[in-house]
Amino acid sequence: MNPMLQMININKSFATVRVLHDVSFSLLAGEVHALVGENGAGKSTLIKILGGVYSRDSGDILIDGEEADITDVPSARSYGISIIHQELMLAPNLSIAENIFLGHDIKTKLGLVDINEMEKKAQGMLDGFNLSLHATDKISQLNIAQRQMIEILRSISFGAKIIVMDEPTSSLSEKEVNVLFDAILRLKKSGVGIIYISHRMSELDVVADRVTVLRDGHYIDTVKMKDTDHEQLVSLMVGRSMETFYVKHPHFSEKIILEVEHIKSGSMVKDASFTLRQGEVLGFAGLVGAGRSEMMNCLFGLAKVESGKIFLDGNPISIRNVREAIQMGFGMVPEDRNQEGIFPVQSIRYNTTIEVMDQFLGSGVYNAEKEYELAKKYLDDVLATRYSSLEQSIASLSGGNMQKVIFSRWLLSTKKILILDEPTRGIDVKTKTEIYRLIDNLTEQGLTIMLVSSELPELINMSDRIVVMSHGYTTGVLAREEFSQEKIMTYATMEM
């Protein structure tokens, strides 16, 4: 079978920095071809060249064996190439039908927009994918998984033959992932080729036919998914074998540091109870919408606790705002790094020291020296963050390095309990293991950690115990020897 897409010896430089070195890639019709590599490996550059966002310096792109002249986004689209970005590009206040046909509306004979016809066709597409949605629903009413499906339908309506999915599952729950995989299967059957970018190995097992690995802008290898395993892929990605991906030793004592009894908050946290031991890593499992992040927000003073009790070191406490939470010894690396974590325009220095800035500003005499030393100590020594200057804005860093800055921020200020909400989301493999090692070190030094994660392997490997939540209730607590995906899923889908 001839490939429907061939990218041959693609080169690309930004100013003097070469980011792609003779990278080649091919895609068959009806194939899911995964593209993996650490952040900065060149995946997104390659995809942007395919999508016409960047121009290539040299190399050929062949579609159905013929030279394709991709110079900008519309020309890429005319070749049937469609990219579904991590940040979805839908108009929230328009209907599903309007979004699907945005940019290529169906017109009546008079040249007016034919909304009825659009709605009819859109409904047909929704039904075709077994989505119980109405074409007239507004996008703002849909959840992220549903919005993603609309993006896919939109690509199809454009006549896309090659669909690129950039981390499509990064904000989906396991259940929603299955809906996506169903759709991918349908697309495959209809002969669409899919380029699939993901950091999650377990997904590749399910969905990918072949995998191409990039590292530092070089093509490394293309392997059939059924002939390889995670360990081989990870070692191809990082260029060395990874003996220990997860690092975990028990460091907890029997002392109870935090006790949460029957707390309720809003519509998301209905009745949650658990205990936390000193030096423990307590995992929190559950589907999206189980109320895990919302419960963490209660403990961090971001949401109000309506009823129930919280004891810290045996004393009852009430946490009214974030500052109080911080003073009591809490810290939190938030779920959505871009929205809740970083200050994109500000320098790395400002982003690192925000929680402890009083130390340098307090008396009005600014101690820049101390601020530099402290920021550097954590960024360089503790976390090995890669940056060129403390004064550069944080937005210029990769996701993994941004996360390290956020970690530094909280390591500088957290006294007792550090809440980690999806700490490795959208982060490359190498930084992931660094974060795992850090978590282990921190608990060894006496910090206690609450880890919220949607990646079960991460929870199972990193936690001492796992609390499972479902629909706002804590439905189960598992000790390390009881951990299994099945058990967790049983509790996570429990109806209360």
């Binding site: 900065g40 938030p334 200050f343 500000q346 925000i354 820049a368 804005s393």
Partner: protein
């Protein structure tokens, strides 16, 4: 040693950020020195200082507001309210001058607090809030004065407009003071740094435990107080207060801030830039007066300068983008 090196480096960074407009200012001055004999004389330079004082006061407050991602349209009206009421208290009601001045400043406190209160407890956009208080303020000035001009002749009051310390006009000292205080707040206090954080990403500021409401409230309050002071200085300089004084002063201040490179979307900008921006506007107007250019043209030229400043900012951002991409790959 290291400390000096670092602070030099930070100063250099500040200068670098304002380099574009510093060059513009330099070129303007050189041209004016070549074209007129009068420009570089002490009386003319002092005159420029007197002319830009009002704008610098307002622009200092406006810098904080814009860094926060907001805007304050009410400052022009606050000038009128504080100018008229303090003048009325001093001239009509024969209150002691210090009391009249304090009452004038309290007018700014009132309007600033109202702006700040609404801006921190609702999600109504500052543009709309201050548009409303702008109209309210102008109306109050009209009601209070009954459209009459209030003359102020008490030398203790007019000292703030015409006084000198040695040979140097009082305004220079006032400018230095207001810039120093604003700079201190912005760079050396938790609150000031908070302005940058909230302007950059309000959600993240909440997650980081900053008191977003307090910061918002303070910024609008500060802007109101500085505008009230500007109203008193303006009255003191012209010996009179009218209900139309300060009309479109907010636009001059916004122009200074924007020329100074502060981003209208918040989070990025320097006070130094704003001061240079205000000086550019002052030198431009003064130069065109010296050259005998018609006032109508002065408006046109000022508009063009703003566009050029924004274009420079745009180019710099684009450069920043390239850097951003490069850094991403280097890692």
């Amino acid at each position: 040693m290291l400390k000096i090196k670092r602070s030099m480096r930070m100063l250099a960074k500040n200068v670098r950020e304002c380099l574009g407009i510093l060059i513009v200012l330099g070129v303007m001055c050189i041209i004016l020195v070549c074209l007129t004999d009068k420009f570089a004389t002490p009386p003319n330079l002092f005159n420029i200082i007197r002319q830009i004082t009002i704008n610098i006061f307002i622009a200092c407050g406006m810098t904080l507001v814009i860094l926060l991602g907001g805007i304050d349209l009410s400052v022009g009206s606050v000038i009128a309210v504080s100018g008229c009421i303090s003048a009325g208290m001093a001239t009509w009601d024969k209150l002691p001058v210090p009391v009249a001045i304090v009452i004038g400043i309290l007018c700014g406190v009132a309007v600033g607090s109202l702006n700040g209160f609404i801006a921190s407890f609702t999600t109504i956009s500052p543009f709309i809030i201050t548009l409303a208080t702008m109209n309210i303020g102008r109306g109050i000035a009209r009601l209070y004065t009954s459209a009459k001009t209030i003359a102020v002749l008490d030398p203790r009051y007019t000292f703030f407009g015409t006084g000198k310390i040695g040979k140097i006009p009082i305004q220079l000292f006032l400018i230095v003071a207001v810039v120093a205080i604003t700079s201190f707040i912005l760079n050396k206090t938790r609150l000031g740094r908070g302005i940058y954080f909230v302007g950059d990403n309000e959600q993240a500021a909440k997650y980081a435990g900053l008191n977003v409401r307090k910061i918002r409230f303070f910024v609008f309050l500060y802007s109101g107080i500085l505008a009230a002071m500007a109203g008193i200085l303006s009255t003191a300089r012209t010996f009179a207060a009218t209900m139309v004084m300060g009309t479109s002063a907010e636009m001059d201040a916004i122009a200074a801030v924007v020329i100074g490179g502060t981003s209208m979307s918040g989070g990025r900008g320097t006070l130094m830039g704003t001061v240079i921006g205000a000086v550019i506007i002052g030198v431009l107007n003064n130069g065109m007066n010296l050259l005998g250019i018609n006032t109508s043209w002065q408006y046109v030229v000022q508009g063009v300068v703003i566009l050029i400043a924004l274009y420079i900012d745009y180019l710099r951002n684009k450069g920043g983008l390239i850097k951003l991409l490069k850094n991403k790959r280097i890692k």
